[in-house]
Amino acid sequence: MSVSVKTLQEDEFFYGHKACAGCGGSLAVRIALKVLGERSIAVLPAGCMSAVGFNFPQLCFGNNAIISTFAGTASMLTGIEAGLRAQGITDFHAVGFAGDGGTADIGIQALSGAIDRNDDILYICYDNEAYMNTGIQKSSLTPFGAKTTTTPAGSNIRGNLRPKKNMFEIVAAHGIPYAATASIGYLNDFMGKVEKASTIKGTKYIHILAPCPTGWGIATDETVEIAKEVVDCGLWYLAEFENGEFTLNHKPKEFTDIRTYLKKQGRFKHLTEGDIETITRSRDQKWDALSKNFKIR
């Protein structure tokens, strides 16, 4: 495990794309491919990264890459892996990059099937917490309180009423060989996890939080900072699941202020003090559970 900014290969595999300036998802894709290298075959469902990277004749992946159906990221990965193996080719990485909607909503069935079969694929969910490509609609990974275009914040309802689905633990419950969470604010951690996943046989899942300046209501130069802050204030955590055990990779000594994190973002501007207390309580409950059930590194 040695990948770092110094050893990372200089080739760029995701380049010239039309993602919004400051896009967190494109950073996750770019870095993962730099770790995995040229023998990666990337599958991207309909969504932001395919929309910005594959408009003939502007084709922005330097490696082999294909768009799948929205629901079909995992199943297409399965076919690619099996099809190459059947031809005696095994020195490659079949890697999927799907957003939160493509993973936790429409694609969860195919993902569950692939994990159940333990297909030798790496599935990376870049989570920007809403359907950003179609214009910021709520997904099941949109957090409590967030304003989206389908969960407007008005005088009757203040944004999304439901908590974020716990994809990491849902995936782990399958008994997957390797799963991890990450954030584009902590790329060294992410690179190490991608590298580790690439050495493990069977299904691997990495869930990386990847802020979207457009959908979150932040400036384009704040993407990385906000992705650090969400970890530092305890609303997201960096962890791994391996050999049936959960490990917490990073435990902030003291959480930074949740209110500061939330109020920087347009999507949370409307939250009341009561809402912020609800979010804080839910964070504390989560961390109580984490300290009980996760090994702490």
């Binding site: 040229e38 023998r39 075959i41 599958v43 395919s50 929309a51 594959f54 408009n55 003939f56 004749p57 084709l59 992946f61 330097g62 490696n63 082999n64 890459a65 294909i66 768009i67 799948s68 159906t69 629901a71 079909g72 995992a74 199943s75 297409m76 990965l77 399965t78 076919g79 690619i80 892996e81 099996a82 099809g83 190459l84 193996r85 059947a86 031809q87 080719i89 490659f92 069935q109 195919a110 569950s112 099937g113 159940d116 079969r117």
Partner: protein, 388 residues
């Protein structure tokens, strides 16, 4: 070659074993299950070297097959009815991506009401999805079609997925004596799949991309040409087939006693067997009747239909399908062909066999009797529950 007593499903599975797909991904649905069960057994006993993927849905079955095809592997799947509709998104994806996957579809009624028996509403509802569509009449043709389907689909000028349709139960579950070719014969017939339409580790490509208004029509036009080219590929496949296996097929259509016929029944699938018997019976009574069987619905044999019926006084289309609010889909297609050829004889439409309802010889005789009256009818057979 060996003779075996096989059902339509089993015969198709034997054909697939001979075609040796590298990846099989399938989800069970009645009445297709026997095909995937037999293929699983063949993989288990080592007589078929194939990756068998137990997918969790039909959508994933075809998505997985597309993944395999996208790296240049030969892929197979099979489905029916609700399963076909559940994978509908992937149907146009596979044809637009020009992935020459072969899929067997056991023709079955579509809900509601629920019904597991045979009719052709499932596949005919997907006629416009860009796939080659063939309809087998019997178990032997099913086996032969399984082999020929890959030759046609993978033909470099075609590169289009192939849906081989077998009538549910009536064909899928009915046993016949079938000639099963040897693997050597099959290998002599079917070349290995080679394509540049693939993700290639030595020559990286981007596949299945977007194309905006400026380029979209060009891709769709080429897709259309690919499907049209299938007609030539079918002829090539059949010429090669008769040389190696000694069985002759007749392209997109099959004419039976049509040359001098005044009244011609046009139909597709397994009902053609009974229709042929009926023609023979009526011929013995001095009636000048004939049968035109549509072996393929896409590419559509419009010119062949017009040529076969040009001297007829009237024609009827018998199909197990209805396009609600209009008429049978096959009928609409046939009429278009007649009109383009400048033919104006009366043509009638008989919609029968829905949800597995039996079509009797008496009913087929009735169709020929109706035709003599030279009026146009659109009529359901066997609605049942008629008032006294």
């Amino acid at each position: 070659m060996a003779k075996k007593f096989l059902s339509g499903n089993e015969a198709f599975a034997e054909g697939i074993r001979l075609a040796r797909p590298q990846v099989i991904s399938a989800y069970p649905i009645t009445p297709q299950t026997i095909v995937v069960e037999r293929l699983s057994e063949m993989v288990e006993d080592g007589s078929l070297q194939s990756e068998f993927i137990h997918v969790e849905s039909e959508h994933s079955a075809l998505s997985c097959a597309m993944g395999a095809s996208a790296v240049g592997a030969r892929a197979f799947t099979a489905t029916s009815s609700q399963g076909l509709l559940y994978m509908a998104e992937c149907l146009t994806y596979a044809s637009g991506g020009r992935f020459p996957i072969v899929m067997m579809n056991a023709n079955r009624s579509t809900a509601l009401p629920w019904n597991i028996y045979g009719d052709q509403r499932d596949s005919l509802s997907q006629l416009d999805c860009g796939w080659i569509q063939a309809y087998a009449e019997n178990a032997q043709e099913s086996l032969d079609l399984a082999l020929m389907s890959y030759f046609v689909a993978e033909h470099p000028e075609v590169s289009t997925p192939f849906m081989a349709n077998l009538d549910g139960f009536v064909l899928t579950h009915t046993y016949e004596m079938v000639d099963v070719p040897t693997p050597d014969q099959a290998d002599a017939f079917l070349p290995a799949y080679q394509t540049e339409n693939k993700l290639d580790l030595e020559h990286p490509r981007n596949l299945a991309f977007s194309a905006g208004p400026d380029h979209n029509t060009a891709f769709k036009y080429k897709e259309h040409l690919g499907l049209l080219n299938a007609q030539k590929a079918v002829a090539e496949a059949e010429a090669r087939f008769v040389e190696i296996f000694g069985r002759q097929y007749t392209g997109l259509t099959e004419n039976y006693r049509t040359a001098d016929a005044d009244y011609i029944l046009i139909t597709l699938g397994s009902i053609a067997g009974l229709a042929r018997e009926t023609v023979d019976r009526l011929r013995k009574q001095g009636e000048r009747v004939g049968l035109l069987r549509l072996r393929y619905m896409r590419p559509f044999p419009g010119a062949e239909i017009a040529e076969a019926v040009k001297h007829a006084k009237a024609v009827a289309v018998l199909e197990k399908d209805i396009s609600f609010g209009n008429e049978g889909t096959v009928y609409t297609n046939v009429n278009s062909a007649l009109l383009k050829a400048g033919l104006s004889m009366p043509s009638s439409n008989y919609i029968g066999g829905l949800g597995g309802k039996n079509i009797s010889q008496t009913e087929i005789e009735g169709i020929f009797r109706d035709l003599k009256q030279e009026t146009v009818r659109i009529q359901f057979l066997g609605i049942g529950g008629e008032d006294e």
